[in-house]
Amino acid sequence: MADVVLEKVEKRFGDVSAVAGIDLTVQDREFLILVGPSGCGKTTTLRMIAGLEDVTSGDIRIGGRSVIGLPPRDRDIAMVFQSYALYPHMSVYKNMSFSLRLRHTPKAEVERRVQEVAAILGLSDRLNRKPRQLSGGERQRVAVGAALCRQAGVLLFDEPLSNLDAKLRVHMRTELKRLHQSVKSTMVYVTHDQVEAMTMGDRIVIMNGGSILQVATPLEAYDKPANRFVAGFIGTPPMNFFQGTLTAKAGQGSVDLSGGINLPLTRPVPEGSSRPVTVGIRPEHIHLSVEGRGNHQKVPATIDVVEPLGHDVIVTARSAAGNFQMQTEIYAGLRPADNLDLWFDTDRIYLFDRETEWAI
């Protein structure tokens, strides 16, 4: 059992609060992703789990045992660093077996484990090379291999793919996910890339400003963002936001956007006087026509920019309510400066309190 529990974990650097008392439970063998923009505290959280950073207050338990005050080597963890942190003067074999040799593991056992891990990662014919003789992707795999050789209960990843080129990154994403299915370790993975978070994680933890905003499966985070930040962070192209006013009369809610556009809501909203809200709608929920689909609201718009992606096209448009982007498969005939009616899917509209930014 190697579950990780964080209880009211706080980290301050002088007067600056980097992590503001977070609670988090990572299940055994879970692939958990910490995601957020730079400076959100995700890397600090990971480094506190690793023991590279002291906690200011709070408790961290790995496998039920509090690790506060324990040195990193006694925490049953292994870590993959952003820069890979390979020892440049050691061969791949020695890099991967360094931790085992420090533990005086029998030679035959070291050999067996390294060969096994090298086979999984496709490094068997690279074991005698030095790191600088390897490609970026190979170095990355060596870093992962070194962590795997430890057979630690928890594997920590600190943005391991951010130094790879785009194509390799997509490939390694799949590889790491496959790896997680074959090894029995809990994995905590830090990234600022929401695509990585969505594609790889069992659950994702969205952080901002040192706090956790939402812990959810990728689809939950996409479907039910807990607040405006999560809504804007998850999904590409990002969600469109408009300023509006929510009114509810006799259980029937509607939002008034500027320019006289009114979006009737199909879901119940709390009764009450009108309140300012931020309205969110994803680009993929804006359509060119309504044929056979659910509730839609017409919004007259002018096309500004058309960005074809191949299968899809991203259209930036102007409307009385403000600028927005839509993503659609149909692409023929769309030209800048075209005036046309676009349809907002009113079943997929998100509302956020203007003040607190939490979802309504």
């Binding site: 590279l52 080597r73 963890i77 820069s83 003067h89 360094f98």
Partner: protein, 442 residues
């Protein structure tokens, strides 16, 4: 891309010739010219000149130099044969040997002519005639034999085989003869008819025959390796300390390099006072703390056992900041993540130093060592200011000796020969260090 200044080949549209100041090649040569001139005038010319000079009899004040070949390097005038111990006789028991020695005073020396125009000098003791030596000159032979009989001390000594041999011993070597050629020398050696610890010395005017030169070579190595080892022992901990985060680190980093940036001519004046025979602050402190009695104060520059220590100390004081700063540069070049990974993988501070920091700093350390060795090996300033090579040449190194011979004594050719001896030695050292570096990188 063709050269812009060449005429275009037929078929191509002719390009207009560029104005002189727009062309890049002349500008480039212009930039290089001062450096090339400098190299020729101040490096290549003196170096080649000193090579030429070392093969001539150049002396200060002589206008004409005569080619003398390798005489400055090695020229043997004579070979000198000498020995301290001569085994005169062997007896089965000690009393017999003692009885023989007791008869020494009554001994006679006789010289006979032998075939081949030689003379055999023997001694007759206790009725036994013992042939000692054969030489071409009867006088020389009889002189040596008489010395052995009359001047040397005779003692009985037990041999490994359990017998007793009578040994004639001289504290200062008894010079048996000097011989002009190596052939004469070896035939002379064969004509010593008893067991003796025969030694040969070459006398000559070449540098290799000069005992002071050999001493200077020894001192140079002592000085270089002494300072380099101590510099490393001080430099590594100093660099590790400066690499830690603490208040005033920047200030300390600045202070550490002061010995390195102060001109040696100035700092050596301070050291002269520190080492002064009457006013040495070190002596004063040691006496003050009752570690030394005033009667036994150290003469740092004048005592032959302390002089080398003193010059090494000054060189270490001056050079170790450089070593420390270079190692520090190596340390700061190690990414934090690598040390963090090592910590995470279970390496303690000592293991991190041995397995990670050491190997990663080693290449840059070797480069600094290479420079440092070259500076120490050729160092002239420190020694010249502190001891001038004294006392009794105990701190004479190749560079100071070359100066003494070439400039002070005026033997320019020999001085050049001495300084050129440094060249192959250093070339070898550099070769091995670079070889080591290349292996590291492979």
């Amino acid at each position: 891309m063709g050269d812009l200044t060449t005429t275009p080949e037929s078929g191509e549209t002719p390009r207009p010739r560029m104005a002189f100041f727009d062309r890049e090649a002349p500008f480039g040569y212009g930039l290089v010219l001062p450096a090339v001139l400098y190299l020729i005038v101040f490096i290549a010319y003196p170096f080649l000149m000193s090579i030429y000079m070392s093969f001539t009899d150049a002396q200060a004040g002589n206008r004409t130099w005569t080619w003398v070949g390798g005489a400055n390097y090695s020229k043997v005038d004579s070979y000198e044969v000498s020995a301290n111990d001569f085994v005169v006789a062997t007896f089965p028991t000690q009393p017999q040997a003692a009885a023989f020695i007791a008869k020494k005073g009554e001994g006679q020396q006789v010289t006979d002519a032998v075939p081949g125009g030689r003379f055999r000098a023997s001694i007759v003791v206790a009725g036994a005639k013992i042939p000692l030596i054969e030489m071409l000159s009867a006088d020389d032979a009889s002189f040596n034999a008489s010395s052995i009989l009359e001047d040397l001390q005779w003692k009985a000594r037990k041999t490994i085989g359990g017998k007793y041999e009578v040994v004639a011993h001289s504290d200062t070597p008894l010079v048996i003869g000097t011989f002009p050629t190596r052939a004469a020398l070896s035939s002379a050696k064969r004509q010593i008819l008893v067991d003796a610890d025969v030694r040969t010395k070459t006398n000559g005017t070449g540098v290799l025959q000069d005992p002071n030169f050999l001493l200077a070579v020894k001192n140079t190595f002592k000085y270089t390796f002494g300072t380099e080892v101590i510099k490393l022992f001080l430099g590594i901990p100093c660099a590790l300390l400066l690499n830690r985060a603490f208040r005033g680190r920047k200030l300390l980093r600045g202070l550490v390099v002061i010995p390195w940036v102060i001109p040696i001519a100035i700092s050596a004046q301070a050291w002269l006072w520190i080492f002064d025979s009457s006013f040495s602050v070190i002596n004063w402190t040691l006496v003050h703390w009752h570690i030394l009695s005033p009667a036994h104060i150290i003469n740092f520059r004048g005592d032959k056992d302390w002089a080398m220590f003193s010059v090494v100390l000054v060189n270490v004081w001056r050079g170790f900041p450089f070593t420390a700063i270079v190692i520090l540069a190596g340390l700061t070049a190690i990414p934090d993540e690598i040390l963090e990974r090592a910590r995470l993988e279970g390496a303690n501070a000592f293991q991190r130093f041995i397995y990670i920091i050491g190997p990663m700093v080693r290449p840059i350390l070797m480069v600094s060592l290479l420079f440092s060795v070259i500076f120490s090996f050729t160092d002239f300033n420190t020694i010249w200011i502190i001891t001038k090579g004294g006392p009794f040449d105990q701190t004479q190194v190749l560079s100071t000796y070359a100066y003494q011979l070439g400039v002070n004594a005026g033997y320019l050719g020999k001085g050049a020969a001495v300084s050129l001896f440094m060249f192959p030695i250093m070339a070898l050292m550099v070769f091995f260090m670079l070889q080591f570096l290349r292996r590291e990188e492979a």
